[in-house]
Symmetry: C2
Subunit: 247 residues, 2 copies
């Protein structure tokens, strides 16, 4: 059973107050890095897996994308996405990432922002994405960093003075379910190693282009607590391509 926390009214309300929900892309700490890894959208057919409020879908169209399909499991998210969207080139589809039908050879660009750590079968989804991309197509994904998800509770280890002492890592090579605290709720996430994130892509047939652990933009470092984001990686962004293999 796929968890759908984003349709829980209380969780949805909390999520809706996050700066990434209110301000959109500019309110997301990793956007300045993710943006650099997105390819040229002009005339392209784009699939956004876990599109949420549709910020990346609308951005793709603003950048010239011909068609964008946004997929999300949460009806509440999609309802708000539709309210915010004017473009006829964007179609929102209510589906889990796993169950979306993935038409073959249909997309030039697949993006997935902070959604794949909710997916149990990453290997199968990678295979479906690969088949759904055209040759030369680009897949850009961001997930919570394996160092962030490994131990499970996703919180600092605190000193006796109540300040974060360091980030605790444990159970790194034990992949699978974690009950993580997020917005005051327990949310099910799947921990995977960096090795799994990267080599599942190469084993599927993708070439790895870029791997980035985003740091907050220097302009954000005055925001309270933001300097702690330099103490451990929180996210991982990967850019991969479907190219003919040379060896």
């Amino acid at each position: 059973m796929k968890e759908n926390k984003y349709d829980d009214p209380q969780f949805f309300e909390q999520y809706s107050k996050m700066s990434r929900s209110v301000q959109g892309l500019d309110g997301a700490g990793e956007w300045h890095e993710l943006k650099k890894l997105l390819p040229d959208f002009s005339g392209k057919s784009v699939l956004d897996l876990g599109c949420g409020f549709g910020w990346h879908c609308r951005y793709a169209v603003e950048q010239g994308a011909a068609y964008v399909t946004g997929v999300d499991l949460s009806e509440r998210m999609l309802k708000k996405a539709e309210e915010m969207t004017r473009s006829p080139s964007i179609q929102y589809i209510h589906s889990s990432i796993e169950d979306f039908p993935y038409p073959e050879n249909s997309f030039d660009i697949v993006i997935s922002s902070l959604a794949l750590h909710y997916v149990e079968n990453y290997t199968e989804v990678c295979r479906k994405i690969f088949n759904s991309l055209r040759e030369g197509g680009c897949f850009v994904l961001s997930v919570e960093h394996p160092i962030f998800t490994a131990q499970g509770k996703q919180d600092w280890h605190y000193g006796t003075d109540g300040n974060p002492l360091h980030w605790p890592v444990d159970h790194y090579f034990t992949e699978g379910i974690r009950q993580a605290g997020f917005l005051g709720n327990d949310v099910v996430k799947y921990h995977r190693t960096l090795t799994t994130y990267l080599n599942t892509l190469t084993e599927t047939g993708f070439s790895l282009c870029r791997v980035v652990e985003p740091q907050p933009d220097s302009s954000m470092l005055d925001i309270p607590g933001m300097k702690d984001e330099l103490r451990r990686p929180m996210m991982l962004i990967i850019q991969a391509r479907k190219t003919p293999h040379l060896f």
Copy 2:
């Protein structure tokens, strides 16, 4: 000044007692994974940076390499390497990794096992390796994992019962010198993020082929303390290739 701890008699003696020094490759916990990432050596010209006792040099020749150059800063290490080596196809050179002259377009394979975290200027060394490789050539490196080097002291955070509670991560995005404890000594190492390790390679012109965080082989898990190696990654192995870029 490049630190040369391996010529310190006491440190050298300690290092010489480690299982990777006594038993060679089979005594190294990561060998079963590193071996899989090594390309076919038949007839190849090989450079081993930080060759130590020469285990990988001799392995390359056993696997059919035509010529192998082993480079190390430690005269003591090279002396022992020469004592253990019969093959006329292996040449040992006393040099730091940074100062080796790197003849252009000369090697098919460059390997470097657990040495590049001692090197301050990784970018420059990557550029030299790239120029020294022939087109299609392969670079396989292992380093201590960024999660292992980030905080600095390279030790567990212990509970009141004296058992490891978790692995502490801190200062992740602050790259540079760390004074780490190793074999009862303070050793200077350089911490770099995963992003830096990988993207320096791609920016230099390499294609990323494989990225592996080795786990101990299941046959080793009965060795005392070995199960803790599943709790956090200790090493990172990268396989990259000098190929013409498609985009």
